[in-house]
Amino acid sequence: MSASPKTDWKKLIWALMGVAVFFVLPNFLSRFSIYLMALIFTTGLLATSLNMVLGYGGMYQFHHAVFYGFGAYTTALFLTKTGLPGWVAFVCAPLASALLSLLIGLICVRLSKLYFGMFQISLGSLVWAIIYRWYSFTHGDDGIHGIPVPDLIASGKSAYYFALIVLVVCLMIMYRIVESPFGRIFQGVRDNPERSEAVGVNVRKHQLVGMIIGGTFAGVAGSLFVVVEGSVFPDLLFWTLSLEILIMCLLGGWFTFLGPLFGAAIIVLLRTFVGIYTEYWTIVLGIVLMLLIFFLPEGVLGYIITRYRSRRNPKFQEG
């Protein structure tokens, strides 16, 4: 189903209006809310980058957090250990994550489905173990705090705008990728790898490129995290975070472009506000997840879109 130029314009206008709202929003929000929004942008970018691999590529990317944490640590180490201008760190972080996804991807794409996912968890855990243990270099368990972020983006509000701009730019690039010929083939590989192979598509190469794209944007999200939070810790690479990102994608709805962003917003808000009342936040998350799998497996946005389309075009239900 190719989008007509008319709907493209409509989408663009909606997107511009959305961005405009977020640009004026900080004037009406408290400092904490601004910080929370910036965290949502960061996490949303992370979830969207996972969806590139998982939703559009159909690969079991079970340890996506490694690329996020790796990007965050690269940024933090560049900012604290070198005298280079701060911007170098923000360029190097995505590159480092891309390199890591190339390395992990080269080994993983030879495997199928569950083996792919489990092997990725093992490689990711190795990276986590090294960062966790290499006390002299990464400060191990303690993490790195009070990272000197460049002055221009150091304050809460400027960090917000930085995160917003980076998010919007990244979303635009990712949207272009999904709609590009590469993106179409990538989705074709997901739907039917055997047939794609038969018509001459190099399945593994496409999967590898997809993994690198996802990993790179996760690295961008990682350096955004450093800007927003000012610290890094090994939990950023822990496998439970990877599963939390999976929950965000599921909650918002994979197969939708903006779904994971919604899911990330819901999870971050839920964690913050449930966290005020009880320390048992994970039990709430667990129950939400169970209900989701039973009653809303296509996610919130996925559900809305399906309902909307089936009302406008009853034929859609069959297709």
């Binding site: 079991y60 569950l114 190795l126 243990r133 667990g286 129950i287 997840l289």
Partner: protein, 298 residues
Amino acid sequence: MDLLPNISLAAFCQQLLVGLSRTTILFIVASGLSLVLGVLRIPNVAHGSLYMIGAFLAYTIASAAGGGTFGFWLALVLAPLGVALISLAVERGLFCRLYEREHLMLLLFTFAFTLVFGDLVKLVWGSDFRSMNAPTSLQGSFDVLGFPFPKYNLFLLIIGPIVALGLWWLTNKTKIGKIAKAAAVDREMVAAVGINVSWVFASVFVIGCFLAGLGGALVAPTQNITQGMDHGIIIETFLIVIIGGLGNIWGALLGALIFGLTDAIGILIFPQFAIVFPYVAVITVLMLRPKGLLKSVW
């Protein structure tokens, strides 16, 4: 350059024995995970939580029985049964409705249990760590080449083969084992000849979780019982199951040996990065044999 500085043969042997007793625990937990993966096709992330619950239950039962020898044996019998009971309720209540879903959903569903169980343990037992004593007959140590070797570790070394033999007997000699093996290959066919596959699956799931609980109860006297002991074991056992071949009991044994021994030797060579050694071993094995060392049932 001397890679092995000042490591005497005796220290090496001792470390090897310690590694082997760790292997026993890993094998018992991993074989349960492998069983569930092989027959039900559920990558049960909550397996580690059941192991943790097993350890906490063992502590509670042992202290309720007044500690000592009797308390330990009672805990060793009752704690795994308690875990089995929990898993039976979970399987009959929720899992049995989800078998048709894809792996990703099942994995996330079991992860939901990990989250819930983690907090429930915190609610029931608090966030302090607990410890429990081995019975007096298993305290103290032997002399191995001039080094002390704990009696309890020897006990573990005896338990391991017993569990392995029991599992072999269960899967190859009993009716339910044979049905489970058949159901793993083709569940529709098994259902077509009039067997209630749903209950076969429930029994296999319960047996698998029983093993997690047994592992937890066995490990309880050797380490602190804490929150978060579920995260470490689940990654380790998943890797063991994968390098052994999904669903293969002997593969789980082989994988546990590789994991346990490389870990033990790593501690000897490079203590700070000992944790890295088993992961490197796993990656090497998977590079050479992507589907695991032994035949997978999938």
